[in-house]
């Protein structure tokens, strides 16, 4: 059995008096899609931030491809092949869509001409090529979410962290994004995805990890987790699709 690509080992993150993530451990194998779910405030984004280098774990370690990345900054991790999107999308508003992707392309293509060529390819793949020259601030929400994914893709990552990439999209746009995610996995990218929209995450994930109040309360395949009484309990009273 090959070494897991990602290993989260007893990770906790404490802010002053608040324990946002409490002793969470799980592994991911290359090429799988793992869904991270849980009610609002369960600590999903905090865990994301720990894995992607924006926070240091208060306790525990994070391993990527066998290396300890617990204290590495985000820009180092990008170089290691980890890409991420942000829940509240962060486009470079004053720059064009093309420029946004070009910046991301500089990681693997240091020269401008090559970076731009690569950026065009990413724009084609994500369906943004027709809007390449407009300021990123002028995109619709769907466009911005695509741009967000596009920027992460331009890094040519082996591992992708997707944070609520379909929130706020209409059904058509949501389906298109799901298609995109499947294409990514088919291209060999391992994906850790956070999503609130149940039909999306249940449909796309190979496995799920459920958090509640910072702790992992369940882990397993979608059917297994859906039937888990602790999971149902956590969501009781929560509105979800």
């Amino acid at each position: 059995m090959a070494e897991p690509i990602l290993k989260v080992e007893h990770v906790s993150k404490v802010f002053g008096g608040l324990t946002a993530v409490n002793d969470v451990s799980f592994e991911m194998n290359a090429g799988e899609i793992l869904g991270l779910i849980g009610p609002n405030g369960a600590g999903k984004t905090t865990l994301f931030n720990v894995i992607s280098g924006y926070y240091r774990p208060t306790r525990g370690k994070v391993w990527f491809q066998g290396r300890n990345i617990s204290h590495k900054p985000p820009y180092y991790l990008a170089g290691q092949g980890i890409g991420r999107t942000f829940q509240v999308v962060k486009p470079f508003a004053g720059l064009s869509v093309l420029e946004n992707i070009t910046i991301a392309s500089f990681l693997k293509h240091p020269r401008r001409a090559a970076a731009e060529a690569h950026a065009w390819k990413v724009l084609e793949f994500t369906g943004l090529a027709d809007r390449a020259q407009i300021p990123a601030a002028s995109l619709t929400l769907a466009g911005r979410k695509r741009l967000e994914i596009g920027k992460a893709l331009a890094l040519e990552p082996s591992f992708l962290l997707l944070d609520e990439v379909v929130a706020g999209l209409n059904p058509t746009e949501t389906d298109r994004t799901i298609e995109l995610i499947r294409k990514l996995r088919d291209n060999g990218i391992t994906i850790l995805i956070v999503e609130h929209i149940m039909r999306v995450i249940m449909g796309i994930s190979d496995r799920l990890v459920v958090l509640n109040f910072g702790q992992m309360i369940a882990q397993g395949g979608p059917a297994e987790v859906a039937g888990n009484p602790a999971v149902i309990q956590a969501y009781l009273g929560e509105e979800h699709e």
Partner: protein, 328 residues
């Protein structure tokens, strides 16, 4: 104002530069030549200021420190160590760069507010140091050797500033560096996720802003023959650079050039006719700054970097953008 394509702008810049090179052939009055030399110097100072202010989003209220450091470094090397001018000038640039590194390392890791305060305080400390130190001549200043040659200084200044302009054009508008810097300015956290190290980039930008400023200082020292802490390290320098850049349009290269020429023109006229009302100048400068922030946020030509972020004007294509744009 319709955006002019980048290549067209470059051509215009080259034409303007060529005209500047040919100016002394047409203008023979040394008074006007000196005025033009000073105007060019201010263009250089404004460009340096905009690299860190407009392109990087960090306000250096102590910009004059680099100018003064360049002045004194060049003057001291020429007068005490008897270095030839050009060598001393180059060394002045290096000292300026090193200063930027020292000042920048602790302050650029942090937010813009810290940086503004720290640089403002550093500049005052440097001025204080120049006033107290013996080797700089203290409050009495120091002299450099006299070399009265308006043409020489015109061309040296033009050379320094022209080189600055085109190097900056390449680095900020053509090379990856400029885009990366803008990314850090727009959204630092997002930039990190893409493999950019914001602190490194900011420090490089700061050094890039210091070098032309220090070089202008070095030329200035030899040109005006006499320098003192008041004229080379006073607040007024960064106050004026700030107005020039904001008025002209931040985050562009043309902006500082236009702003510098206009504000310098205003300054020259003011001092020619109203020099009795010194204090008035300070008031006007302050009022210009405050007014520009409120009424001319994109500069007089409306070309600042903010224009394209869609906040100054909403593009007509995407109505949903307004509904979706509210970030928590």
């Amino acid at each position: 104002m319709t955006p002019i394509s980048k290549d067209r702008r470059l051509i215009i810049s080259v034409v303007v530069f060529a005209a500047a090179v040919l100016l002394p052939a047409v203008v023979h009055d040394t008074f006007w030549l000196r005025v033009a030399t000073e105007a060019i110097m201010w263009v250089g100072l404004a460009l340096g200021f905009d690299v860190i202010a407009g392109y990087t989003g960090y306000l250096n209220f102590g910009h004059q420190a680099f100018f003064g450091i360049g002045c004194y470094a060049t003057a001291l090397l020429m007068m005490r160590a008897h270095w030839p001018f050009f060598l001393a000038l180059a060394a002045g640039g290096v000292v300026g760069a090193v200063s930027a590194l020292i000042i920048g390392i602790p302050t650029l890791r942090l937010r813009g507010a810290y940086f503004a305060i720290a640089t403002w305080a550093v500049a005052r400390a440097v001025q204080q140091g120049a006033l107290m130190a013996g080797f700089t001549g203290g409050p009495d200043g120091m002299r450099t050797s006299e070399y009265l040659n308006p043409h020489f200084f015109y061309y040296v200044m033009l050379g320094v500033v022209g080189l600055t302009f085109f190097v900056l054009w390449f680095l900020l508008e053509r090379a990856p560096f400029g885009l990366k810097l803008k990314a850090v300015r727009e959204d630092q956290e997002s930039a990190k996720a893409l493999g950019l190290n914001p602190t490194h980039l900011k420090i490089k930008a700061f050094i890039l802003s210091a070098i032309p400023t220090a070089l202008c200082g070095g030329v200035f020292a030899y040109w005006v023959t006499f320098i003192d802490p008041n004229s080379t390290l006073g607040d007024l320098l960064s106050d004026q650079a700030l107005v020039m850049v904001i008025f002209g349009g931040m985050g562009t290269l043309i902006g500082p050039v236009v702003g510098a020429v206009i504000i310098f023109g205003f300054k020259t006229v003011f001092w020619a006719y109203l020099s009795a009302y010194e204090v008035l100048y300070l008031i006007i400068l302050g009022a210009l700054i405050a007014a520009s922030v409120i009424f001319l946020p994109d500069g007089v030509l409306g070309i600042s970097f903010r224009r394209r972020s869609g906040r100054a004007k909403q593009e007509p294509t995407q109505p949903a953008a307004a509904a979706s744009g509210k970030e928590a």
